[in-house]
Symmetry: C2
Subunit: 382 residues, 2 copies
């Protein structure tokens, strides 16, 4: 008998044509890095809202059933029939999950660039990070500064670059201030810190008094609680105060996007001296970057003709701005990793723990303050 190939655990999501999604752990061979690749022992990987779409395949988590063993749990849940179209392209394919993470380079391909990373702690982006080992191209690694742990660097791509991308989009498209929904989120707190540091007006929309308190404690100047009876007036006043004509919306369902446009239009036309039935000429834009609310977006009108609503996604944005601009954003993330871009987690869990009922019920809510970190080496003997 030969020497057994080393293996590592990997979390998989499998949406079946019968309408069930199945989450499980599989044992996969530890890959050999190609010349331009390194092998990273993943130490930490966040469960971002943007990971959960792939993870849960639009399933209704209230239907989840749990089986398997403590070491090899299996979660099954039903995908509502009306959402099957969303997952049509992935049916019956077992998909690895996890956009980003961080860990230690334990093997390298033949190239000098790859070998230079040996032993370094790196942040990595590229999918499949809910794994114990991941082979990945050198260019998808970011070397973390001395004294930075993998847990501290695990989330240094998605949320930090998204928050910076919002401000950069604002500047490039000629706006001067921002509205942000679900603003007390991990990402929202980063955006608040960026805007305070850069002197950019930011209107934070939250859904509870507790979230409002969180942001105010962080120095946020404009916080509007959508459950307040005076929400419309407060939002309009904050938009007037900041001059915001651009919003980034993580909710992406229901009337909120249209409501923001209406308040922007009231702000834009409040000093109009001549009536125009086409509304103000000020362009008002909402970019939807998340779908916390799966209902349709409802645009009731009443904001004239100079408006837009559209999807916004980090990767095409980074491609559009080009390598140099994208690198400048990454440099800022590394420089401010323990301040502006610090992430906080409710809990660290192993791959197996991530598939337990208590964990899924907590992070599956995608609620502010319930962010989980997967630490795939937890409980593994060195």
């Amino acid at each position: 008998m030969g020497v057994s190939t080393p293996t590592g655990l990997q979390l998989r999501s499998l949406a079946r044509a019968n309408g069930q999604v199945e989450l499980s752990l599989v044992s996969v061979p530890v890959p050999d890095p190609l010349p331009d690749e390194v092998l990273v022992r993943i130490e930490a990987s966040p469960i971002n809202p943007s990971d959960q779409g792939l993870l849960f395949a639009a399933a209704d988590l209230s239907t989840a059933t749990y089986s398997g063993t403590a070491d090899r749990p299996v979660v099954t849940a039903a995908i509502p029939r009306e959402r099957m179209g969303v997952v049509a392209g992935r049916l019956d394919q077992s998909m690895p999950v996890g956009n980003e993470g961080a860990g230690v380079v334990v093997a390298a391909g033949a190239s000098n660039e790859a070998r230079a990373l040996l032993g370094k702690t790196v942040a990595v982006i590229g999918g499949g990070m809910y794994s114990q080992y991941r082979s990945i191209k050198v260019e998808q690694c970011l070397v973390l500064p001395e004294g930075t742990t993998a847990a501290e660097g695990a989330a240094c791509f998605v949320n930090p670059l998204t928050a910076l991308g919002m401000v950069e989009t604002m500047r490039r498209e000629g706006h001067s201030a921002l509205v942000h929904t679900a603003a007390a989120s991990n990402l929202g707190q980063m955006l608040n810190r960026i805007c305070l540091a850069d002197g950019v007006g930011l209107v934070n929309i939250v859904r509870s008094q507790a979230q409002e308190n969180t942001l105010r404690a962080l120095g946020a100047l404009h916080v509007c609680n959508s459950t307040s009876s005076a929400f419309t007036q407060e939002l309009t006043a904050a938009i007037i105060a900041t001059g915001a004509t651009l919003a980034f919306d993580a909710i992406g369902g229901g009337p909120l996007a249209g409501h923001i446009l209406t308040c922007m239009e009231v702000a834009a036309s409040r000093n109009a001296t001549v009536y125009s039935r086409y509304g103000s000429t000020t362009h008002k834009q909402v970019y939807v970057y998340g779908r916390l609310d799966l209902r349709p977006i409802e645009l009731a009108g009443g904001y004239g003709m100079a408006w837009g609503v559209g999807g916004w996604l980090l990767w095409p944005f980074l491609q559009k701005v080009g390598t140099a601009a994208a690198q400048a954003l990454r440099d800022r993330v590394v420089a401010e990793l323990k301040t502006t871009f610090a992430s906080h987690y409710a809990k660290s869990v192993s791959l197996a723990e991530a598939l337990q009922p208590d964990a899924i019920e907590a992070y599956g809510r995608r609620a502010t303050g319930e962010k989980y970190l997967i630490t795939p080496q937890k409980g593994v003997a060195e």
Copy 2:
């Protein structure tokens, strides 16, 4: 007693804070043109859908009551409470109506440019054209070629430039084919002729078999009837055949805009070999340029992240493309006024006839084939 000042009739729309709109004719002094203006005796002015928003002030026409005399009719109708916000900026102001028209220059200001137009038949743009006389800047006039009547030139701005603007927007924003809704309209027929002449793929969405027949008789290659049970498949097939990733939507309410995006996404991702939960990278755009349906726009999702929906309006478009490009579009309109850009009217009516129940019931439906032309000199002694 001195000589009486000459007067002319003008149609007015007055939305009152009490929720009533009142349409009537008033007698106004014939204005003296300023140096850079001419006085036009308006011979013809179309009732475009874009005029009816200002005319009816979002009133519910089923509540219309008719009073006054045959010569000076008065129409009153109720504005639904939920639409009062749309007209808040014009309450208690008596507004002239009518974006465009054509007529004869009967007096001119002192400038050479103005005097050069004396006696010419001109098309004019600028509002208030449901009048017997209109003083207007020379630059808002377009001299009609010899042998062109005012009726033939009355609608040479709004619909022709909008149709040309759609194709120009398509080219400037990197799309190569178009989808158009309410496609059997006067404007839609122009767009069909432009696209056939220019070799641009056009998917015409209509709402009846009769409209489908109309467009097919005009040579339209792709016509999809939204009342067909196979509409989704037919629309997707037409989008695949043309490669359309841009739509212009006159409906602007309900699920249609989102439905078009979904079909575009199916077309864009049909050959995908790797699943992306963010959908295709093809940008899919719907511009809403009308609101034939006053319900909210409903965007159900399922078309990834590369999408946009927004308002589109002719005047900002013309400003954005600049003087030379706008002039090129106008030149084409004049050159093809009796072919590509010919308008057809169900009826010509005087100002007083335009406020009679039968007329309002007909053109107020904004239905394809029910376009009216106002001829303000009708019945007036020379």
